[in-house]
């Protein structure tokens, strides 16, 4: 955000204000170290990234992801309008189901990755915090005027993630159906602490878990209820990043961008079957050609020898030949060694290929590794 400026009434450039989220004071009271992220003050860590990471894998963590954009789309001809901007098949997305998709530009580049839920009359989208304003602008431009677009900025979003998440949430969530009715990528309406909430069984850690959309005024009460359970600790953005990296889940703005296509990124599952035969989504020519012939480069996992990590931007070599660039990298707390992701020329992207990564003038040895690095434990 440091390179974006707004112009005030006198025409002087001023830095945009960093915004606060509903749980700002709650995080500070629990010792969260606050940083600026996506234009908001957010907790990067509490007791430490490794401890929080391992706690989530062994117990359960509560993540505040209220910076993300919660959008409700409605109106006549909604499905057809949305299928013109996403490669999703909405005819197979039933009430109560959630699906991952990508917002594409005319070249098939990725403008954002997102979740779509089928509501009785509407579609509910969760988009990335850093891109939500651009997404809204893009959607407003691309969607017909009769499609309504409502940003739920009076709602917070919490993620409860980890092997004990179900046991914890079952103590607090009541509704027409038991929480066990939700399997991975299903959602429903429940009540927690007297507030109506939307709970989906999904997340960004590779663990079983839930994402809970709730009214902003309920955020502190519900966060207190959940963190009052002995299995739950609040977890910062730092561990959220190391958890998703181990799970092989791409991070928008790093692993995904307008410069990358969903086929290069290995997101073929997001190009739904009917859309592959019918096309009709942005960049379809390029994407269908990449599906048929294979992309020129692929997003892959890399396991590094030694303990030194490779970071975003590091160049990858096969001998003297530059073959790609690292898009995410860091130390894996669960595996106790460095891991990375990179876009690599397809000729060098097969699992087991030995490569080198240049880090501060040195070459680190790395091997192409299937993702996830740490197995998913979704409740399917």
């Amino acid at each position: 955000m440091s390179d974006t400026y707004e112009i005030d009434e006198d025409g002087d450039a001023v830095e945009p204000e960093v915004l606060t989220l509903p749980l700002d004071a709650w995080h500070r009271a629990r010792g969260g170290r606050m940083v600026e992220f996506a234009g908001y003050h957010m907790p990067v860590q509490y007791e430490g990234i490794i401890a929080e990471h391992l706690w989530t894998r062994e117990n359960t963590g509560l993540f505040d992801v209220s910076h993300m954009g919660q959008l409700v789309l409605s109106g006549e001809g909604l499905d057809a309008a949305v299928e013109a901007v996403l490669p999703i098949d909405l005819s197979t997305l039933n009430l109560g189901q959630q699906r991952y998709s990508v917002l594409l530009d005319a070249n098939g580049g990725i403008l954002d990755d997102l979740m779509v839920q089928r509501w009785p009359n509407d579609l509910y989208l969760v988009v990335n915090g850093a891109t939500k304003w651009d997404d809204i602008g893009h959607l407003r431009e691309e969607l017909p005027d009769e499609i309504g677009l409502n940003l739920l900025d009076d709602h917070a979003l919490l993620a409860l993630q980890g092997p004990k998440a179900f046991a914890v949430l079952e103590r607090h969530a009541t509704g027409k159906w038991p929480l066990s009715a939700l399997s991975f990528m299903r959602f429903g309406l429940f009540e927690i602490g007297g507030f109506e909430v939307n709970i989906s069984r999904s997340g960004y850690t590779g663990e079983d878990g839930f994402e809970i959309s709730l009214p902003a005024e309920a955020a502190e009460a519900i966060a207190d209820l959940l963190c009052g359970e002995p299995e739950v600790k609040p977890i910062g953005l730092g561990a959220r990043d190391s958890l998703r990296l181990e799970a092989g889940l791409p991070l928008y703005g790093h692993d995904l961008s307008p410069e990358t296509s969903p086929v290069e990124a290995g997101l073929n599952f997001a190009i739904n079957k009917r859309r592959r035969s019918e096309g009709g989504f942005p960049g379809a020519d390029r994407i269908l050609a990449e599906l048929a012939n294979g992309p020129a480069r692929k997003w892959v996992g890399l396991s590094l020898e030694g303990r030194q990590a490779a970071r975003e931007g590091a160049e990858v070599f096969a001998g003297n030949e530059p073959v790609g660039v690292v898009t995410s990298g860091g130390f894996s707390p669960s595996l106790e060694r460095p891991i990375a992701t990179a876009y690599i020329s397809s000729a060098h992207a097969a699992a087991g290929t030995a490569l080198e990564i240049e880090v501060r003038g040195k070459r680190l040895t790395a091997t192409v590794t299937p993702m996830p690095f740490v197995p998913h434990r979704y409740h399917r």
Binding site: Q45, G48, I49, R307, F331
Partner: protein
């Protein structure tokens, strides 16, 4: 043995013309969990302000600057297996490297403990 501190949060213990360098407790707290330390090789010449050493945390790699000029004589081999010593004992067993000072007058630009504590309190 006098200990001096830099504004970049390095400490240096000086014994004759030998200095032992590490990062402060404040610095390790800011960096978070340290997972790897790239140490300088013995014999390498460093100038005040050079970055002969890199500390890797889960999130990022951070330079450690030489608080004074000199020639590296030794580095802390224990950090190869236990980089977390920089977190748990940054100002003693988590030291980083030793050097022979080439210009001891540079020490006059550093802070003593009281001045450093006041500097950190003002951050």
């Amino acid at each position: 043995m006098p200990r001096y501190f830099s504004e970049d949060h390095e400490w240096i213990d000086v014994d004759g013309d030998t200095g032992t360098v590490g990062i402060t407790d404040y610095a390790q707290g800011q960096l978070g969990d340290i997972t790897f330390v790239e140490l300088p090789e013995a014999g390498s010449a460093v100038k005040k302000g050079d970055a002969p050493c890199v500390v890797d945390s889960v999130k990022a790699a951070s330079d450690v600057y030489a608080p004074v000029s000199g020639t590296v004589t030794d580095s802390n081999a224990a950090l190869g297996d236990e980089p977390e010593l920089v977190n748990t004992d940054p100002e003693e067993s988590g030291w980083l490297f030793r050097l022979t000072l080439s210009d001891p007058a540079e020490l006059s630009g550093l802070m003593d403990r009281a001045a450093y504590d006041a500097y950190v309190a003002g951050l």
